[in-house]
Point group: C3
Chain length 162, copies 3
């Protein structure tokens, strides 16, 4: 690391800019069945709308049958990543969850817990620090179409507050 | 997203409320062997006790044989999620870790690294923004009962500081 | 939990210390092929250099073929964790990503999405709150050596700002 170039941040101390906090949300309609949806533009728009310059966007899905990660969002991987989850937690094998609740989505719960509900993405100069071929995605593992309200919580420096 | 209803957050600027930070901990006794423990009420209580209104709870397990996620905490999934980890990283197969250290918990290390030690959960109006059937859980993969000290670090707005 | 001993944090309110924010980076050269690299000392050094006392280090890899977690960084697990990913998303099986792009790294994308690009580690008294045998690692799943610029974003209390 170039120590000079690497120290890209600015301190935020008293008499300067306080760290701000905003909790917003994004509504998404999914088809279920490991439907993968690109959220990048939506999250970037939340950062822009609230005028944040530098900080982190915490994206969180409330619910136990969906998860978040990043991926190169292209048609091939939209098949490959769901196929990987079908290997890791196959639909149709025995799940105690289904026997208890006479439900059909045991695999959806297991997949969601493996992937996790929470993703923090840093941003700077108002831009999410993602790679060019790296998008923020929701995977909805439930067995039916769902509407999902995702939390997007921003913390960091805002414009016009210094 | 309804832009009006969605903009639920409040900015925290100078002359208003500074973002506060508290690092607390939760002690948990586990049985090991992929024992899954519901931490939701304990984490919620840390948020309440310190009077935080809005922000994030970062839960972190110090140690390399346990991990954190969310799940619907019911008896079926308390079997299904450990069973999934038994498929992903079976106990009893060859682990180089065990040959080096004459240990029996190679699978526990691998499972913990796959699941991850860190979980950030946003809260608002003093309430964790979890789904109704979504609980914060620790999975302890070690091969013996353990005591775990989990870090719970809160950042955000507190009551009475504006 | 001992409620008295557990409340280790300090509030940061107006007239005290504002929460500061710094975005820095770490450059890493990898061999690819699930090469696992210990980042702990580098991340700890970023915390020290910027004089942070208490808060979180958000480590993020920009790119879609590498991920972050923690592990006991010893030679056995440097074999076992890549071996687990070889079981979960084998190299050489059919990936639609490779058919579309005439590429050979479909498994690398899938592994990276399963592991995740983001890891938040809390620190206190200037020290990352890791276990003794728990290190922060990058796994680079790509099929060739890469240079990776990791984001390290610190938020929390700094020395000398109160």
């Amino acid at each position: 690391m170039d120590e000079g170039a690497g120290a890209r941040g600015r301190a935020v101390g008293p008499g300067r800019t306080a760290v701000a906090l905003v909790t917003d949300s994004i509504d998404v309609a999914t088809r279920g069945d490991s439907h993968m949806i690109d959220l990048t533009d939506r999250v970037q728009e939340v950062v822009r709308r609230h005028g944040f310059r530098e900080g982190q966007a915490l994206v969180f899905v409330s619910g136990s049958t969906a998860g978040l990660t990043t991926v190169e969002f292209e048609p091939g991987l939209q098949q490959d990543l769901p196929a990987a989850f079908e290997r890791l937690a196959p639909r149709g094998m025995r799940y105690a969850h289904e026997e208890t609740w006479h439900d059909d989505n045991g695999h959806a719960h297991v997949r969601a817990s493996l992937l996790g509900p929470s993703l923090a993405v840093p941003f700077k100069d108002g831009r999410l620090l993602l790679g060019t071929w790296q998008q923020i995605v929701l995977l909805d593992f439930d067995t039916r179409p769902r509407r999902r309200a995702l939390v997007v919580q921003l913390s960091g420096e805002r414009e016009g507050t210094s």
